[in-house]
């Protein structure tokens, strides 16, 4: 087994608590087993029986799931022990790690900066050297963006690779379970552990599981590597540009064929609006069941209706309520055809264009984010705006269900930034192979704050 946790157990638990005091990434502690093969953090929207699950929201206060998610059973089958539930943005709706229903999550590389989100807690714990593997979910870059900000490897597999049974839904047509590690070998092994058909999740894939770690091949000769020019032309940061250019020169020198990829800006400009329209609508529908009656807040009022209203008024943050309002607006009868259904039609068109580009390639490369993690003090959490393609390109893989990962490429001002490697559906082996070659070039295998 690749994961190593060969340090003293007492030392390990002390490290966890110290790390949490520094970065506030733990939502709740689990009952871990002392003799486990390795320890895993799990995002707090994934059910672990008997352990508090709040998903960053007060509406789930005190809730303890009565069953394990399938991914938890898979982890335990392979000797893992879940040591904590990691903090997240409320109900998966956020990309900063600040709206957690408690203290914000801090970036281990610079405590004045965000981790990103919504899987910020999982990213921070791996980046801080607390565990070799942490589970997250990715609906609109929620693993890959914090991976870039925290110098970790964040993997979003093909939609359906990993069962979503026991995972709190956000936008179920895009929700994907994924994970964080510090090296590609661990990432390949993690996917082997977690993937597989699950009769309890009808969207889980019946594709035969892969042997990704054993089959890893970092030979670049003859590989067709796409350079996503439509995205790279929008990134102006000179440190980022230089790192990327040095990388592609290296890839060429090693025998890879580089192909410049442009997608029509007409479709690229619509990626973020389409994502937000669909995600907000699906979220407000999925969370209609959070009524505070059967579990969670359970307030006492004059009537059942008032109890529900009290729970939902005080249980959800302003940001989440705003998203629900916009989601409900797009589902209103008079708007549904022109907003929600139109977004679904445009989604298919975007996906067709995108997958046509991926078809002829082994992988497609672009920088994951246009800059390092922003400072907390600079964050404008008030407004919703359309994101530029330099940020929203990661959502292409959520719309299309294609696999994608972010791995560390370089540093600026002591903070890491990442490179996005993506491939067509069910082509994770190609993605891992090229990522391994890139990791060998950067030398960042095993990168974490402790290692620096």
């Amino acid at each position: 087994m690749r994961f190593k946790d060969s340090i003293d157990f007492q030392e390990l638990t002390r490290k966890w608590h110290t790390a949490d005091e520094k970065i506030h990434a733990v939502a709740s502690w689990c009952d871990w087993k002392e003799d486990s093969s390795f320890y895993v953090a799990v995002k707090d929207n994934i059910s672990v029986a008997g352990t508090l699950m709040q998903a960053g929201s007060h509406i789930l206060e005190g809730y303890r799931p009565v069953y394990d998610a399938t991914v938890i059973s898979q982890l335990r089958k392979h000797g893992a022990s879940v040591f904590c539930k990691s903090k997240m943005d409320e109900l998966g709706m956020g990309d900063t790690g600040l709206n957690t229903g408690g203290t914000p999550i801090l970036n281990p590389y610079d405590l004045s900066r965000i981790t990103g989100g919504s899987s910020g807690g999982s990213a921070a714990l791996v980046a801080n050297g607390c565990c070799p593997l942490a589970i997250g979910t990715d609906t609109g870059d929620s693993i890959r963006q914090p991976a870039s900000y925290t110098g970790t490897i964040g993997v979003k597999p093909t939609y359906g690779r990993i069962s979503r049974y026991g995972v709190l839904p956000y936008a179920n047509s895009m929700d994907t379970v994924g994970f964080f590690t510090t090296c590609i070998e661990d990432a390949a092994y993690a996917l082997e552990i977690l993937e597989g058909r699950d009769p309890k999740d009808m969207t889980s894939s019946a594709m035969l599981p892969g042997h990704y770690k054993r089959s890893l091949d970092s030979n670049l000769a003859g590989k067709k590597i796409g350079i996503f020019r439509s995205v790279m032309d929008t990134i102006k940061n000179p440190v980022f540009q230089k790192s990327f250019e040095d990388l592609i020169h290296h890839l060429e020198k090693k025998g890879a064929h580089l192909i410049w990829v442009d997608l029509d800006s007409k479709w690229l400009d619509l990626v973020d609006p389409v994502y937000k329209t669909i995600a907000n609508a699906e979220a407000c529908s999925n969370h209609a069941c959070l009524d505070g009656l059967r579990y969670g807040l359970q307030p006492i009022e004059n009537t059942v209706e008032e109890s529900i209203k009290h729970a939902r008024t005080t249980g959800f943050s302003s940001l989440v309520k705003k998203r629900f309002i916009y989601g409900a607006y797009s589902l209103y009868e008079e708007n549904q055809k022109d907003l929600f259904e139109k977004a679904q039609r445009i989604r298919r068109q975007i996906v067709q264009e995108y997958r046509a580009a991926l078809e002829d390639l082994d992988v497609l490369l672009a920088l994951s984010t246009p800059d390092i993690a922003p400072e907390i003090a600079e964050m404008d959490r008030s407004g919703m705006q359309i994101e530029s393609i330099s940020i929203s390109h990661l959502k292409l893989d959520n719309l299309a269900g294609t696999p994608s990962l972010s791995l560390p490429l370089g540093f600026k001002q002591g903070c890491p930034f990442g490179l996005c490697v993506r491939s067509d559906r069910f082509q994770e082996q190609k993605m891992f192979d090229i990522a391994k070659a890139i990791e060998e070039y950067t030398g960042f295998a095993g990168l974490c704050v402790e290692a620096i």
């Binding site: 069953y67 939609y159 058909r197 969207t203 209203k309 302003s318 309520k321 445009i346 359309i386 719309l399």
Partner: protein
């Protein structure tokens, strides 16, 4: 987005909004309107809506057989008050006029 529409939506969603939240939503509504404008400029009338990453023909469906997996105790485990197989929701009674005979 006018105030009455926001209040109507929040009623449908079973929560109240503060004055600050209403103003915030109104301020950001320009964002939704810009999306609507962008969408109207695109003709995708001959394109089928994409409802999921997994198309129906890719799914390996099974017969829909009821398969109860959680017992009564588990379902009720997170409720603060239960009686037999029911969840109890306390009702505040302010005066004898509130009591209704059923």
């Amino acid at each position: 987005m006018d105030r009455s529409l926001i209040l109507s939506l929040s009623e449908d969603l079973h929560f109240s909004l503060t004055e600050e939240e209403i103003q915030d939503i109104q301020k950001d509504f320009a964002w939704v309107q810009s999306i609507q404008d962008q969408f109207t400029q695109i003709d995708v009338s001959n394109v089928e809506p994409m409802t999921s990453c997994v198309e129906f023909f890719e799914q390996d469906l099974r017969l829909d057989r009821a398969n109860p997996c959680l017992g009564k105790e588990q379902v009720l485990q997170n409720s603060k008050k239960i009686k037999e197989d029911k969840i109890l929701v306390n009702q505040v009674v302010r005066s004898s006029c509130d009591l209704k005979t059923r």
